[in-house]
């Protein structure tokens, strides 16, 4: 019911958007002159996200809100685009052979914007503050894992000791969410960190204005001199300021980007994605965000879904080409349980196939007979499944309807339902669902563990092995095994590699990206002389 006004709105918007498109096309034909090759100093980057929780990096873990916060805090290590780790606040680090002990040597001469020195005690305080707040920082604490203690043998050395191996910890500390904040900030309570200018970091920008739900403003820090080694710009940032806006409506934000009122944008409706991909003024990144590919995570406790043959039939029953035809032009077919941009991705396209006939045959053989209402049943159980997801998945609903009709021909009923976060989490915890939406974004093997642990002893053993394996290549081959198992056992029904990346005007230059596909803001410049 709730969806109808939105549908109507989208349809109207589509009309309006095309009208404005025509207008803007007439107005600014061929304005793309030969721009500057060298970075230009100064300017204000206008960035839009659907929402921000606050300027607290640890309270923001979704991609959109994190992008600007990357400028506010630095991390111990920099997770380069290829997945490798580069020095940043830590000049070097060692990991023991089973990933239970991490020792970082800190860079000398780094200060926070309030003048406090970034030393071992400050790093420890920054992590301790998050751990002390427990479930208030649920996501980052789950990334930190089972930490035993943090010790500081000397002012430049921090040691993290774990009760259980956590080979994902290096990736975790590279995230903005676990960026280091000043002792002054660490001393504050959760609610104090959510308002005003209380977040103090060592980043290339400082928080200069906080407009609550409507966004905030970051201003360049002139004495910044500890950019990650891979950054092009080692000194103070090029930009003067970064203005962060929140526009709840994606289509209005897209129109603002076209009009030049925004420089950088996250979250785009499918119609705008298609349009941006063809635009000569706007670039939309076409790499999927690193994490797990999009599709349905199966609840194997549900009758029917407890049978691997049924799950395989459901996976075969999805004609991905037809789904992609309905989706935006930049979405691509999945080729693994990971997205193709995940550093731990291996191409397993041969494990993902579509064959409606075979799917029907499998269900027939397994004894699922088509009932009077067209839905297959066996022993009183029907092949009728409900898919649940949050509001951010609503834009996929037209594509889900394609799967719905494909499954209907197969004799399987698919119902789908967008829920509030509270209800979604409640139903996931209590197991009251058949299918849920897989969409973890993390450039790490852990993107799979967090959705699929506890389903299968063999898979759990692999996850345990991955966590105790600090070596990149070693993790990657184990990750490929895990992905293969998930696909062959059909714990996951792949749909597509979802592209929900940044879109920006061609005057916005983003030279350096992290593995998480978040741009390093110290390098960003605007070609608007």
């Amino acid at each position: 019911m709730k969806r109808h006004p939105r549908r109507a709105g989208t349809a109207l918007l589509a009309g309006l958007v095309s009208a404005t498109l025509l207008l803007s096309a007439c107005g600014t034909g061929g304005s793309e002159a030969a721009g500057s090759e060298d970075p230009i100093q100064g300017g204000t980057l206008k960035y839009r996200s659907t929402n921000v929780q606050s300027a607290d990096p640890a309270a923001n873990t979704g991609y959109g809100p994190v992008v600007p916060l990357r400028g506010l805090v630095d991390s111990l290590v920099f997770n380069a685009y290829d997945g490798s780790f580069e020095p940043w606040l830590a000049t070097e680090w060692t990991v023991n052979e089973n990933a239970t002990r991490y020792e970082f040597t800190l860079r000398d001469g780094v200060t926070f914007s309030n003048g406090e020195v970034l030393d071992a005690a400050a790093v420890k305080a920054s992590f301790d503050a998050l751990r002390a707040q427990g479930a208030k920082y649920a996501v980052v604490n789950s990334w930190i894992g089972n930490l035993k203690e943090i010790t500081t043998p000397d002012a430049q050395t921090v040691v993290f000791d774990f009760n259980a191996p956590n080979s994902s910890f290096l990736q975790a500390v590279s995230t903005t969410s676990l960026g280091i904040v000043a002792p002054e900030t660490s001393a504050l309570s959760f609610d104090q960190r959510q308002e005003g200018l209380t977040i103090i970091g060592s980043g290339a920008f400082t928080l200069s204005e906080n407009n609550g739900d409507e966004g905030y403003v970051l201003t360049r820090r002139d004495d910044y001199a500890w950019a990650p080694a891979v950054a092009e710009n080692q000194g103070a940032a090029y930009l003067d300021t970064i203005e962060v806006f929140t526009t709840p409506d994606n289509s209005i934000a897209a129109a603002e980007l076209r009009a030049g009122n925004l420089d950088l944008l996250h979250n785009t409706e499918p119609a705008d994605k298609t349009d941006f991909a063809a635009s000569d003024e706007i670039t939309i990144r076409t790499e999927p965000l690193p994490g797990s590919a999009l599709g349905f995570v199966v609840n194997t406790d549900v009758p029917g879904l407890d049978d691997v043959e049924v799950r395989r039939a459901l996976a075969l029953g999805i004609d991905r080409d037809a789904v992609l035809e309905r989706a935006s032009t930049i979405d691509v077919a999945p080729t693994s349980a990971f997205t193709a941009s995940n550093p731990f991705y291996t191409d397993q396209a041969d494990l993902i196939s579509s064959d409606a006939k075979e799917a029907a045959q499998i269900l027939d053989d397994a004894g699922w007979e088509v009932g009077s209402d067209g839905v297959r049943e066996k022993d009183g159980n029907r092949l009728s499944f409900e898919l649940i997801y949050g509001a951010s998945t609503v834009s996929h609903e037209p594509n889900l309807a394609v799967v719905q009709s494909q499954w209907k021909d197969l004799g399987v009923e698919l119902k789908f339902n967008s829920l509030t976060p509270a209800e979604l989490n409640q139903r996931q915890i209590s197991g009251d669902y058949a299918l849920t939406w897989a969409s973890s974004t993390r450039p790490d093997t852990d993107a799979l563990r967090t959705n699929y642990k506890g389903l299968d002893p063999e898979l759990d053993a692999l996850f345990t092995e991955i966590l105790a394996e600090p070596d990149f290549e070693g993790r990657k081959s184990l990750a490929a095994e895990a992905s293969e198992l998930i696909l062959t056992e059909a714990y996951y029904l792949p749909l597509y590699d979802f592209i929900q990346p940044l879109a920006y005007r061609n005057t916005t230059k983003l030279p350096t990206f992290e593995a998480s596909h978040i741009p390093w803001l110290g390098d960003v410049w605007l070609d608007k002389a």
Binding site: D249, I252, A259, P421, E423, T441
Partner: protein, 349 residues
Amino acid sequence: MTTTTDTTEPTPLETPATPRSTVVRDVSRVVAGRLVHAALVIYAAYSASFFLLFVLPGDAVLARIGTTDTVGVADISDLDLDVLRDEVGLSDSLWTQYWNGIAGLFRGDLGSSLVNDRAVTDLLAEALPNTLALAGLSLVLSVPLGFLLALLAVNPRSRLVRSFAALVPSAYVSLPVFWIGILFIYLFSITLGWFPSGGSQSASALVLPVAVLALLGAAQFAQVLISSLRTELGTTYASVTAPAKGASRFYTLWHHCLRNAAFPFLAVFGLRVGQLLGGTVVIEVVFSRTGIGRLMVDSVKAVDLTVVLGLVVVLAIVYVVVNMLVDIGYSLLDPRLRRRASTTQEVTS
């Protein structure tokens, strides 16, 4: 009669005229009655919302941990949320939570958000001025505009002009607000670049949302006024007496009909204030503004009990005050109501 009991002073001969002390007492009784009524309304609104919120699935602690974008299905099931529930008071029994809330209300303490721990009064202080500015301005503009539209639809000699002017308000009212908002943004912000498309950081950002709401208010007022003005124009005093005395059509409308026609307008005015405070959410979302409506919707979605209840209390107070003002407005417009009020009071006293 419960007047003076002192015997030393001789009572004045004109006893029917109410003595000063009686007037004061009457007024204070009316005020006290109003206050008790107001307190009851607020209490009822609070209690009803409190128990309704418990019907919603999930709780605030589940809402604050995020969604599957960042925590996987398996990880969510592993989280130990009971510590957090204890901390924010959600593990207390329903009645304990209810009475704690009521007790806090008496102390003037609305508690803090269950989702981001911020004091509800702080959140209200951020959102309320924005909504008040938006609602207040649009209301102030919509009244003269509504009267103007109504007069245009009734006064001109040309039937064509009248019909057209009468059509405009109905047409505008029937358009969805979000659509008009988006249209205004595309036209005045994105295409013409005259005003910012959203936010509440600058005064110019108020122009578009105020315009949308003021036009809507004016259209609603005009609809009511047009129909009641037409009725008034059909009565004997306006169609026969006034013209016979040589009054022009406009004079009759302005001096005689408008006052009588203003009754339904006042009722709609009161409703409009309520609509504006609770119903600005669509405009707030379209124009990316912080405000009461958006705070309410977000808080209901997140099952943030304390924030929703704080908002309910504030809105209930506003409704009560507005209703009171509308009642006063009635008696100012109609002397008969004043007379009746004083006679009933004399009878009852």
